[in-house]
Symmetry: C2
Subunit: 259 residues, 2 copies
Amino acid sequence: MSSTEKPAHARARFRDGLVTPTAGWCDGYTQANLITVPRDLAWDFLLFAQRNPQPCPVLDVLDAGAVAGPLLDGDVRTDIPLYRVYLDGELAAETTDVREWWRDDLVSFLIGCSFTFERALGAAGVPVRHVEQGVNVPMYRTSRRCRSAGAVSGPLVVSMRPVPAALVDTAVAVTAAYPAVHGAPVHVGDPSELGITDLDTPDYGDAVRPEPGDVPVFWACGVTPQAAVVESRPPLAIAHAPGHMLITDARDEDYRLTV
Amino acid sequence: MSSTEKPAHARARFRDGLVTPTAGWCDGYTQANLITVPRDLAWDFLLFAQRNPQPCPVLDVLDAGAVAGPLLDGDVRTDIPLYRVYLDGELAAETTDVREWWRDDLVSFLIGCSFTFERALGAAGVPVRHVEQGVNVPMYRTSRRCRSAGAVSGPLVVSMRPVPAALVDTAVAVTAAYPAVHGAPVHVGDPSELGITDLDTPDYGDAVRPEPGDVPVFWACGVTPQAAVVESRPPLAIAHAPGHMLITDARDEDYRLTV
């Protein structure tokens, strides 16, 4: 973890091969999920995101074939620590560089990530357990369905942070101010309400150890498009490996509402 | 004006031929701009909206050919008081019924409208002059450019409300809580900053008479996609006539943030 690093420097290290989850990196800068699909599927994916804004808040969409944009002066094919490549909905590769899979008709969506509000949580006195423990955030597929769009459908994916019971209200209030990076929690408390049977076996990321008195708090997660890829089986999709995010040049505060 | 009317009843009256601006109608219900384009242009329009969220906050996108959706139990082809039909970017018809222009490949976007927050302005003590005066809100093309998307480009369009100087802060705070219906003003004060030369000759809607001590306050406007249609010249586009909105079944409060 390198909390004071600048995004361009962090991206250069990832481009050079460093593989790490990015929670806690580059304090103050917005982190993003990546989902890249061929142009002829991009409409359905953008509509899916539009219809499911809590898990899929779109920060930017790059033009077909473009590898950079206003949010990053870099290359989305190399600047993420770890990628997942899906063929027909099956995980085909986990790799640090997707240039060999690139095509000029690929459209990249940058989707908000809840790592963005973790600094604000910390500043409000809410401990962030996975950062304390140096592990990836745990993520789970839920029994809640997203609203589908054309060929794209799938379940809601959530991230989970154990929060001391007395600080749950604070965590809700702090994160509600960041709707572009998933906003307020979708659920507090009972994992079975979301169809999650065992918090110790997340579908993505690492299990995190709650402290005594912690309550599990669930936020919508930008891995949701990857679950939709698995279900909808497009011929090709490229995404970040869960927890291994694109660190953008945008600032956290750009996505904080003050009303 | 019928402030206590239910949306379904208001839509039935419009379907039967009543033509009127909708400011002040159906208190508590969300009003929407309509922009409808052929499927093969829908990607560029959705991306344009995504890239310009203040003038083009997307409330919903209907599937190709669909005339109703979760936000309205009705028919977008007949339930708006007045429509504009554009052919190659030229205004070809102003009509109360667009069924004769309808095609199964048409995709309709419902875009947030600032009429939605006018009840909240009134409740906060901010007078809404065009409603007081029984005229349509004045709207202006500005010298500010939207971020373009593919074939779609155009200027920012704004609506203007004269607000007593002492209440401008209140108007800003109230409307900032409604980002899905344009949110806070884009400008307060000097019209020339937006390239507007004469407030008395709006590009859309009616001139409104300021009271002594009023300051002009400008909000991003959902007529922006129509200005983009004029500039980008798609073969066919259907829209509401400015100020003559789709009254949806959604509630204002659904779009108010409380953070």
